[in-house]
Amino acid sequence: MSLNNKKINDFVIRFANVNGTGSASANFLFTKAIFRMGIPVTPKNIFPSNIQGLPTWYEVRVSEKGYLGRREGIDLIVAVNPQSMLADIKSLRSGGYLLYDSSKQLHSEYLREDINYIGIPLMEMCNENFTDARQRQLFKNIIYVGALAALLSIEFKEIEGLLAEQFKGKEKLIPANIKALNLGMDFVYKNFKYPLEFHLERRDLLKESIMIDGNSACGLGAVYAGATVAAWYPITPSTSVVEAFNDYSKDLRIDKISGKKNVAIVQAEDELAAIGMVIGANWNGARAFTATSGPGLSLMNEFLGLAYFAEVPTVLIDVQRTGPSTGMPTRTQQSDILEAAYASHGDTKHVLLFPSTPKECFDMTIECFDLAEQLQTPIILMTDLDLGMNDHISPPFVWDDKREYNRGKVLDAEALENIEKFGRYLDVDKDGIPYRTIPGTHPTKGSFFTRGTSRDEYAIYTEDSDAYRRNMDRLIRKWNTAKDLVPEPQLYQKSNNCEVGILFFGTSTYSAEEAMDQINHNGVIVDAIRIKSFPFNNTVEQFINEHKKVFVIEQNRDAQMKSLLMIELQIDPNKLISVLNYDGMPITAENILKQVSNKIKSNFHIEKSKSI
């Protein structure tokens, strides 16, 4: 595939930095300036499980077509980390550019004949122009941003504007930053041909779009959903969910009269306690949630079983990372699907939602709280490190002020007065969802004993087989009700065009859509569906039934979504073809195309079943 035909607004640049040297804010400045020029841009942090000293990369893809997935083939590397220099140089595509610190001469092993070198004496310039040791380190980063501005035609006013915002209230820091930027720009103007053949041009394509990471969007969603209790245990990559919830709450959840907080956030002693607190708070009528990642989800299994069986609303945000065990804590994966779907011993099933953009993180977090209370069961939001910790371009957040929280079937004192006998687990409405009461509601009516042991319709402990089976069957009735309440999948076509379909979800969406475009470019229209929830609604089943073969794209080794489809919808395994990625990096369109073409063998010559 030729990547170099389009020179404008289409390239990948990678920054190779040392963790903890202040590169993050400089790199973000670079990305945000491109965003402000209205050009689709997507950054990925590739960072170590370490605080300071190890290599870290920041990869930025610019794509006028709006492809926001990762792309292979690096066009330019800012190589300022000697530790990873050799590997960085190797990773550059032929004809690509290496921007390096030329304060010291490059060792011969770093020389490649097929790449271009842009040497800028970053350290020298810093030593000449700045006296403070910390500034000398930090401004190396700003100087290379200046150099890139010249090489790639970033509009200077955008960078200036961003610095003004960043240092609002600390304006005296701005001139030094501007000076560093100019040093980098001037050096390029004097010494190199600029701009490079790939560079930027303002497009204003982004309109109302915002740029934010998924975890912050989840935290903000929880504020809008009316969550008042959050309990959590720090774990990468989910930590910033509750941190964002806390930060937003500082502004948005202060009681105007007393100055006290309309929120309780507790850092628990472990994930077991975190989910226990969430269950206790939801049981007592608050909206409560926790956020965790794979190892935490494993620990929460027992409590999830309790919440399922005792029917306590629970919201859990699982920011998936590379497993198993501790795995690669700072790499992405979609590998908790089966663990989450069937968490805990005994017959259990849990409702899962799969967001793929920050806007969906926001919307679905809110949806989780409504669903949890409607269904009185755990709802797990299945996001991942790529979505959670990287900035993404997203449609803006919207809240409908007329929307009410759906608190589900809760009986208040008045309702209890009018009931002859309250039965906590009676299926009054025949939808499997019973009525619940909140402690403290009524002096003599509605109290019951919540327990993980079997009980009858009146919450009385029993080991009676019939009562147990009635309860388990009602829980399946509730599960079937859930199918109509969870978000519908996204279909990419009004009617089917092809015998082959592709199915994907979550962060695979970006690259799957790009791959679809490529396939379509080759004259074939494939059908596609994006799953947003489990249990699978009928649309999913129908889509699979209506196609001969369905590619299932997912980011794990064991084809967990394929397994779930097979188990839950009784799909013939031969019908589902897995397209997998499990190296910890976000899946790319190239990877999808390669696997699809390998598996079809005819290189995209997918037979059309009917004309469009």
């Binding site: 007393s258 006290k260 907080k261 309309n262 309780a264 472990d270 708070a281 809240w399 402690p439 993980g452």
Partner: protein, 350 residues
């Protein structure tokens, strides 16, 4: 159930200020073994709540798993109860309390549930000073699984099958004091006159209140050689004081010799009247309490009564500055910032 408890009660049972007689505070029929110490503690809870005029629906009962954790079903049937998972009651209680600070949270646990599987949650609920009552019905053994030693079984104590426990025991009351619990008491299930005022005081304490109650297991740990048998405990009890709980505003009439009694004022004006106070004992001084506990342990004695109480306690809600209004009573109007604010948030993200 093999038999049904008669529903009939004397029509003229005395009523408390709320107009409820004591039977209103009862629960389901206990399924524990006849003579189980836990049932006496349940009876103590019923009596204390009745005498304190507590509205049962304003109290939530929480427990973990085990014989002791079954007991919340056997008292206060008009209260909501939550029988959670093994060793995890403190976290559920924490969440419940955060959601609604206006209820009384009454936690019941056992020695297995607290000193083994639940040790992590026990120490952290103390550390956070959650406003709750935490009673451990401590019998030194695992009843439901037929009598294995628990972590509170004393070193050298002999179990029913004749095995001598070779491990050090965990002293939960000492641990609670060490961890900074604001209210720590120890009692014996067979001593109602001591236990009931302690439960009342624990309910009044505006922070974490811990009562370790030695509660013999009649079936698996009541044999000769066990240090948690009825006989052994009765012989080795050493009460630090006798205790009376005097509700707010009530005149204190009894008089004891000077030096042998102490009145401890609680935050709401109630008074704990400690009589026949042991020598060198100041329940307001953690250090003196810790020393006395060490000395008692070396003598093989079990100190009972109010061991320690702090009058300056700051519970979790006050530490994290939550609203005085119960969080579960807040509505969309209180909680949702609305779309106009969201528009400004969007603008900041461009």
């Amino acid at each position: 159930m093999s038999y049904i408890r008669p529903k009939f009660r004397h029509p003229e049972l005395p009523k408390n200020k709320l107009g409820y007689s004591v039977d209103f505070y009862e629960g389901a029929l206990s399924t524990l073994c006849a003579g189980c110490g836990h049932d006496s503690i349940s009876a103590g809870v019923i009596q204390a709540c009745y005498e304190m005029n507590i509205e049962p629906h304003r109290l939530a009962k929480l427990s973990g798993i085990g014989c002791s954790s079954k007991t919340p079903a056997y008292f206060l049937s008009n209260s909501h109860g939550f029988n959670s998972v093994h060793g995890r009651m403190p976290s559920v209680a924490t969440g419940a309390n955060l959601a609604n600070r206006d209820l009384i949270y009454f936690g019941v646990s056992g020695d297995g549930d607290t000193a083994s599987i639940g040790m992590g949650q026990f120490v952290h609920v103390i550390r956070r000073n959650l406003n709750m009552i935490y009673i451990v019905m401590n019998n030194g053994c695992y009843g439901l699984t037929k009598g294995q030693d628990s972590a509170t079984a004393d070193n050298g104590s002999k179990n029913k099958s004749g095995q001598v426990n070779p491990f050090e025991s965990i002293d939960l009351a000492s641990l609670a004091i060490e961890l900074g619990a604001g209210f720590v008491a120890q009692s014996f299930s067979g001593d109602k006159t001591q236990l009931i005022p302690l439960i009342k005081a624990a309910i009044k304490h505006p922070g974490f209140a811990f009562i370790n109650v030695i509660s013999p297991c009649v079936t698996f740990n009541n044999n000769v050689g066990s240090t948690k048998s009825y006989d052994y405990v009765r012989e080795h009890l050493d009460a630090t004081s006798t205790i009376d709980f005097v509700p707010e505003m009530k005149e204190i009439t009894t008089n004891y010799e000077e030096g042998s009694s102490k009145n401890v004022k609680m935050h709401d004006g109630s008074v704990l009247q400690l009589n026949k106070l042991a020598k060198d004992w100041d329940p307001m001084n953690r250090q003196s309490v810790a020393n006395a506990m060490m000395i008692a342990k070396s003598k093989g004695e079990i100190l009972t009564g109010l061991l320690y109480m702090s009058q300056n306690t700051v519970d979790l809600h006050n530490t994290i500055q939550t609203n005085d209004r119960a969080l579960n009573s807040l509505t969309k109007k209180d909680l949702c910032p609305g779309n106009e604010i969201l528009k400004t948030i969007n603008a900041e993200l461009r």
